[in-house]
Amino acid sequence: MSNLPISRKCLMWLGALALGLLVVFGLEPSVALAAAEHAADSTAHTFTSKVAGDGGAGKGAAFAFWSFALCAVGGSLFVITRRNMVTAVMGMVGTFFAIAGLYLMLYASFLAVMQVLVYAGAIMVLFVFVIMILNRPVDEPWAVQGILGKAIAALGVLYLFKRLAGILWQVKDTHALVLAKDKLDVEVVLNHSDPELLKDLGVLSIRGLKHADVCKSLFAVCRDNTLNHTVADTVKNAYEFGSVEGVGYTLFSKYLFPFEAVSIVLLVAVVGAIAIARPDKNEPEGEAAKEAS
C-alpha cells in the first residue's frame, strides 16, 4: 500500500469517503435526516428540507453536501490530470458516487441508484474494457500541440465559470418562498378549519405526523381545489418524492414517448457500436499500420 503513488492513495481515500457517505446518508436517507434533525434549528427552512416544519437538514445536511462536493470535484480533477488512464477512470468512478450522493440530497433517490448502476457500474466498466483492449493505458496528460490556444481557452473557461457561477449564485429557489408562505397559510387554516372535519378525514392518524405537517398538506389540497387527491396521497407524495414509484409513474405516463424513443436509441447504439467496432475484413491490416506511422 505504501508503495502506491500519492495520487493513487488520494484517489482511494476519496473513493472510500464517497462510498462511506453514500452508505451512511444515501441508502437510508431517513436515518441521515433524523440524525440531522436534532442538530438543526427546527424553524429553519432550508433547501434540503422536505416540508415545512420538519426541520429539514441542518448542519448534518451541510456536512454531507460539502463532502460529496469535495469528492466530486477531486475525482473530476483526477480524471483530467492523470497520465494513467486507469487512474483517471477510478477518479471518475469516485465522482459518480459523489454525484449519486448529491442526487440523494436532492430527493432523487431513484436517480441516485441509476447513477451508481449505469454510470459507476456499466459505463465505467466499458471504459476500463476499452482501455484494456487498447492496451495503451499511459498517455501524456497535456496536449502539447497548440498549447497557446489551449491556454487561452483555459482562461476563457475560467472567465466563463466566473460569470456563470456569479449568475447561478444569485438564483433564488421558490421553494423557500413557498415554505414561508405555507407557514402563514397553515396558521390560517388551523384557525379557521373545523378540527372535527380534520378528524373525519383521518388526517391526524397518518404515520404519526406532526399536526402542522398535516395541516400543511391539507392546505395544499384546499388550494388545489381538486379533491381527487386524498389527504393521504398528498402527504405520501410529500414523503415519497423521488421514489421509484413517482419517477416511474411520470415516465410511463407523461414521458412514455421519450422513454420509448430512448430505448430505440439505446438499441441502435448497441447495434451501431458493434457494427463500428467489428474488424473490417476487407481492409488489409498493413495499410492501416502504414497510415498510423
Partner: protein, 796 residues
C-alpha cells in the same frame, strides 16, 4: 354656341383609312406573287381619292354649316360672344382618370377651317404630283400610305379639340415625317436625317408635354374651350416662378414645342437635312403643312400668349432672328432643295414674328400664301430634279427655261411671290407681317422692339428676294452646265406633275386677295381673312387683357394710310433690290466675282461660315450628340460595368469568397481548435454582455402630475439574464427610501405611473426593478423637474 356635326370625324378618318388600305389591306388581298406587290393604280387611286374626299367634305362643312354660323356670329356685331364654337364632334372619352378627362373630340372653327383647306387642298395636289414623281418606285404603296397617314395626322392636329388630341396629331406627323424623310433608307444619311428630325421634334414635344402638364396644374383642364374660361385665365395671370406669370412659362414651353416642329432657332437644324426625303414630302410636310403646325398652335393658343407679353416678345424675336439667319445661310447653298429648306425656315420666322407681335391674322395669312408658293417651289424643284436625273446641284444646272417651260413659268411666279412683288400673294402677307411688326407694341416692350423686328425682317426679305432669284437664275437662266449624259435625259415632266404646279401658281397669284392691306377711310379694302379669323383668335380688347387703367396690354397697330402705303413701298423696293442684285450677279450663271470674293482670305472665312450654316450642326454634333454618346459610354462602362457590377455586385461576391477562404483556415479538422473557438467565443459574448441598466422616462401631463414610464431600451443585453417580464418595478417618489408604487412589469402593456407632486420644483425619484428570477435589484435615481404648465400654456 356650337353645332354638333357627325361628319367631322370623317375628315381625318378618310386619309387614315386610305393609309390603312394601302399599307395593310391591299397587301393582304393583293395576289402575293413576288414581294407583296400591289398595283400602282390601285395604290394612288386609293390615296388620292381619300384625300380628295376629305377635301370635298371639308369644303362642304366649311361652306355650308360653318359659314352659316359665322354669318350669324357676324350679324350679332358687338353683342357676339368672344369666341365662336364652330362644329364640334365628340367621339369617345379617350382617357378619364380622376380630375383628368380627355375627350377624343374634334372642333372645326374658322382657324382650323383655314388649315383644313390648306392641308387637304395642297395635299391633294401633292398626292397627284407624286403619281408622276414616284413612278417606278419599288415601295410605291408604302409611300402613298405614309403620305395618307401624314395627312390624317395633320388633320387630327388641326381639328383636335384639346391639347392631348392635338398632341396625337403633333407626334403622328413627326412619325410620318421620320418615315418619309428616311424613305430611301438605303443611304445612311437619309436615315440619319429622319432620325434627326424625329429627335429634334421630340425635344419640342418634351416642352409641349411639360406645357400641357403645367397648364393642367394651373387651370385643371386641357380643352381649348375650358381654357378660355375666366377661371382659367385668372390662373394664368398668377405669378408662378421667377417673378413671371404662369402664362409666361406655359407659353414659353409651348413655344419651345413650336420651335421643334416649325424649325426655329435653336431647333431648326433638322429641316435642311430633312430634304433627304422625296420632294413631294418636302413640299407637303416641310413646306406647306407640318412645319406650320407650330404657327398654328401659337395662334390656337393666342389667348394664352396674349396674357404674357414677355412670351410674345420672345416668340417674335426668335422668329425674326430665325428669319434673318436662315436667309443668310440660304445664300451659300448649292443644293436646290437646301436653298428652299432655308427659305422655309426663314419664312416660318416671318410667321412667328407675325404671331409674336399679335398680328395673328398676318401670321396665318403668310402661312397660307407660303403653303401655296413654297409647296409649288418644292414641286417645281422636284420637276427640275426629275429632269436632271435626280441631281439637285444648282451649279450644274442653268438654261433650263428652254427645256422645262411649264416648270419655269410657275417657278418664276413662286419666286416673285416669295420675293414680295405686287400683286402676288407673298407681297400682301409679308407686308402685313412687316406692318404688324412696325406698329407692334405691348406692355413692357419698350418703343424700339417693333421697329427692330421690322428692320430685321426687312433685311431678311431683301435676302429672300436675293437668294430666290439667285436660285432662279442659276437654274433657269444662263447656259446649261451639266454633263452630256444628263443633258440627253432632260425632259419636261408629265402632266400629272406639272398640272399641280400650274394650279398652285394660279392660287399664288390670286390668294393675296383674302388679306388686303388694312387701310382706313375711303381706301378701306375688304379684309376677309381677318374677319374670318376674328371669332377664333384672341381679341386684345377682352376684359381679361385690360390693364388696371383700362387700356389693353397689347395694342394693335393703327397705322395711318400713308404710313401703311409707305411701308408697302419699302417692302416692294426691298424685293426689287434683291431681285436686281441677283440678276446682276447671277444673271448669267455662277458669278465669278462672288467666287473670287470667296477666295480672298476674309471672304473665304465668311463664305465658309455661311456655307457650313454657322457651324451650328457641328456645335450640336459636339455639344449634344457626342456628349450624349460619351456620357452613355461612360455611364455604361464606368457606372454600370465598373462601379455597380464590378465593385458592388461582383465585389461583394469576391469579398464573401475571400472571407470564406479566410474562415477556411479555421477549419483544419482539429477538434481542439474548434473547441477553443467555441470557448473563446462564449467568453467574448459573456464579456460584452453587461449587466442591465434601467432607466425611466417621465412626462408632465398636467399641473403637478407627472407620468413615469420604465425604459429598458438601453442596456438590456444578452447574457444579462434580464427579461423585464414579470419583474417588480417600484417607484420611490417622495425620497423617503420606501417604495410608493410597486407594479409587475408587462412588456406588452408598458406601465405608466402617475404621481401628483406638491408643486413646481425639483424632485429626486428612485426607480427600483426587482428581477423575477434572481431577485436582483437594479436601481436608478434621477432628478425631475415639475414645471408650471399654466405659464407655458399662456405663452402659447
Amino acid at each position: 354656341m356650337q353645332q354638333t356635326s357627325n361628319l367631322l370625324f370623317l375628315i381625318p378618318l378618310l386619309p387614315l383609312a386610305g393609309a390603312f388600305l394601302n399599307l395593310f389591306v391591299w397587301r393582304v388581298l393583293a395576289p402575293t406573287t413576288g414581294k407583296y406587290r400591289q398595283s400602282d393604280a390601285l395604290t394612288h387611286t386609293t390615296a388620292i381619292a381619300s384625300v380628295l374626299a376629305a377635301f370635298g367634305l371639308s369644303c362642304y362643312l366649311i361652306g355650308v354649316p360653318l359659314l352659316e354660323e359665322f354669318r350669324a356670329w357676324q350679324k350679332l356685331g358687338d353683342a357676339a360672344p368672344e369666341t365662336m364654337g364652330g362644329l364640334h364632334q365628340h367621339l369617345w372619352t379617350w382617357i378619364e382618370v380622376g380630375s383628368l378627362k380627355i375627350n377624343l373630340a374634334f372642333r372645326l372653327d374658322t382657324l382650323s377651317a383655314v388649315m383644313l383647306l390648306v392641308i387637304t387642298g395642297v395635299g391633294s395636289l401633292i398626292h397627284i404630283y407624286s403619281v408622276g414623281y414616284m413612278h417606278g418606285e419599288k415601295r410605291y404603296p408604302a409611300f402613298f400610305g405614309y403620305l395618307n397617314l401624314f395627312t390624317g395626322m395633320m388633320l387630327i392636329l388641326v381639328l383636335g379639340d384639346s391639347l392631348p388630341i392635338m398632341f396625337i396629331g403633333w407626334e403622328g406627323v413627326g412619325l410620318c415625317s421620320y418615315l418619309l424623310i428616311g424613305f430611301w433608307f438605303d443611304k445612311t444619311e437619309n436615315a440619319n436625317a429622319g432620325r434627326k428630325a424625329f429627335v429634334a421634334n421630340r425635344v419640342g414635344d418634351f416642352a409641349f408635354l411639360l406645357g400641357m402638364f403645367l397648364l393642367f396644374y394651373a387651370t385643371g383642364s386641357v380643352e381649348f374651350a375650358d381654357l378660355q374660361e375666366p377661371n382659367s385665365i385668372g390662373a394664368l395671370k398668377e405669378v408662378f416662378w421667377g417673378g413671371e406669370r404662369m402664362g409666361f412659362w406655359i407659353a414659353l414651353l409651348f413655344f419651345i414645342g413650336a420651335c421643334g416642329k416649325s424649325a426655329q432657332i435653336p431647333l431648326y437644324v433638322w429641316l435642311p437635312d430633312a430634304m433627304a426625303g422625296p420632294t413631294p414630302v418636302s413640299a407637303l410636310i416641310h413646306a406647306a403643312t407640318m412645319v406650320t403646325a407650330g404657327v398654328y398652335m401659337v395662334v390656337r393658343m393666342s389667348f394664352l400668349y396674349a396674357h404674357s407679353t414677355t412670351a410674345m416678345a420672345i416668340v417674335a424675336v426668335v422668329g425674326a432672328l430665325t428669319a434673318l439667319f436662315a436667309a443668310i445661310m440660304a445664300f451659300a447653298q448649292t443644293d436646290l432643295k437646301k436653298v428652299l429648306a432655308y427659305s422655309t425656315v426663314s419664312q416660318l420666322g416671318f410667321m412667328f414674328v407675325g404671331v409674336g407681335v399679335g398680328a395673328y391674322t398676318a401670321g396665318i395669312f403668310h402661312l397660307i400664301t407660303h403653303a401655296f408658293f413654297k409647296a409649288g417651289l418644292f414641286l417645281a424643284a422636284g420637276s427640275v430634279m426629275h429632269a436632271m436625273s435626280g441631281s439637285g446641284d444648282i451649279m450644274k444646272m442653268g438654261g433650263l427655261r428652254k427645256y422645262l417651260p411649264r416648270t419655269r413659268w410657275s417657278f418664276l411666279i413662286y419666286c416673285v411671290a416669295i420675293a414680295g412683288i405686287v400683286p402676288f400673294s407673298g407681297f400682301f402677307s409679308k407686308d402685313e407681317i412687316l406692318a404688324g411688326a412696325f406698329g407692334a407694341g405691348a406692355e413692357g416692350w419698350g418703343p424700339v422692339l417693333g421697329k427692330f423686328l421690322w428692320a430685321t425682317l426687312s433685311i431678311a426679305a431683301l435676302g429672300t428676294a436675293f437668294y430666290m432669284f439667285r436660285l432662279y437664275f442659276l437654274v433657269f437662266g444662263g447656259e446649261l452646265r451639266c454633263d452630256e449624259e444628263t443633258k440627253a435625259h432632260i425632259h419636261e415632266s408629265p402632266h400629272s406633275m406639272t398640272s399641280p404646279l400650274i394650279i398652285l401658281a394660279a392660287f399664288t397669284c390670286v390668294i393675296g386677295a383674302i388679306g388686303l392691306p388694312h387701310l382706313t377711310g375711303d381706301l378701306h379694302l375688304p379684309t376677309y381673312l381677318h374677319d374670318w379669323l376674328a371669332p377664333t383668335v384672341v381679341d386684345f380688347k377682352r376684359d381679361s387683357l385690360l390693364m388696371a387703367n383700362g387700356s389693353p396690354s397689347i395694342f394693335e397697330a393703327h397705322l395711318s394710310n400713308g404710313l401703311t402705303i409707305g411701308l408697302m413701298g419699302i417692302a416692294l423696293a426691298v424685293g426689287l433690290i434683291g431681285i436686281f442684285a441677283a440678276k446682276a450677279i447671277y444673271g448669267k450663271g455662277p458669278s465669278e466675282k462672288v467666287a473670287a470674293m470667296c477666295e480672298t482670305k476674309n471672304g473665304k472665312a465668311i463664305y465658309d461660315v455661311v456655307l457650313n450654316k454657322f457651324y451650328v450642326d457641328e456645335f450640336y454634333e459636339w455639344s449634344i450628340y457626342r456628349f450624349f454618346r460619351g456620357a452613355a459610354n461612360v455611364l455604361y462602362q464606368v457606372v454600370d460595368r465598373w462601379l455597380i457590377d464590378g465593385i458592388f455586385i461582383n465585389g461583394s461576391a469576391w469579398l464573401i469568397k475571400k472571407l470564406g477562404q479566410g474562415f477556411n483556415l479555421f477549419q483544419n479538422g482539429q477538434v481542439h481548435r474548434y473547441l477553443v473557438a467555441l470557448v473563446v467565443g462564449g467568453a467574448i459574448i459573456f464579456f460584452f454582455a453587461s449587466s442591465p441598466t434601467v432607466s425611466f422616462k417621465y412626462e408632465q401631463v398636467s399641473t403637478n402630475v407627472v407620468e413615469f414610464t420604465p425604459d429598458f431600451s438601453s442596456g438590456t443585453s444578452i447574457g444579462g439574464g434580464l427579461d423585464a417580464k414579470g419583474a417588480l418595478i417600484s417607484f420611490d417618489l417622495d425620497a423617503d427610501g420606501e417604495p410608493d408604487v410597486t407594479k409587475e412589469y408587462d412588456p406588452r402593456n408598458p406601465m405608466k405611473v402617475k404621481w401628483t407632486f406638491g408643486g413646481v420644483g425639483e424632485y429626486r425619484v428612485n426607480m427600483t426593478m426587482t428581477d423575477a428570477v434572481f431577485n436582483k435589484k437594479y436601481s436608478v435615481t434621477r432628478t425631475i423637474h415639475v414645471k408650471d404648465l399654466t405659464e407655458k400654456g399662456g405663452a402659447q
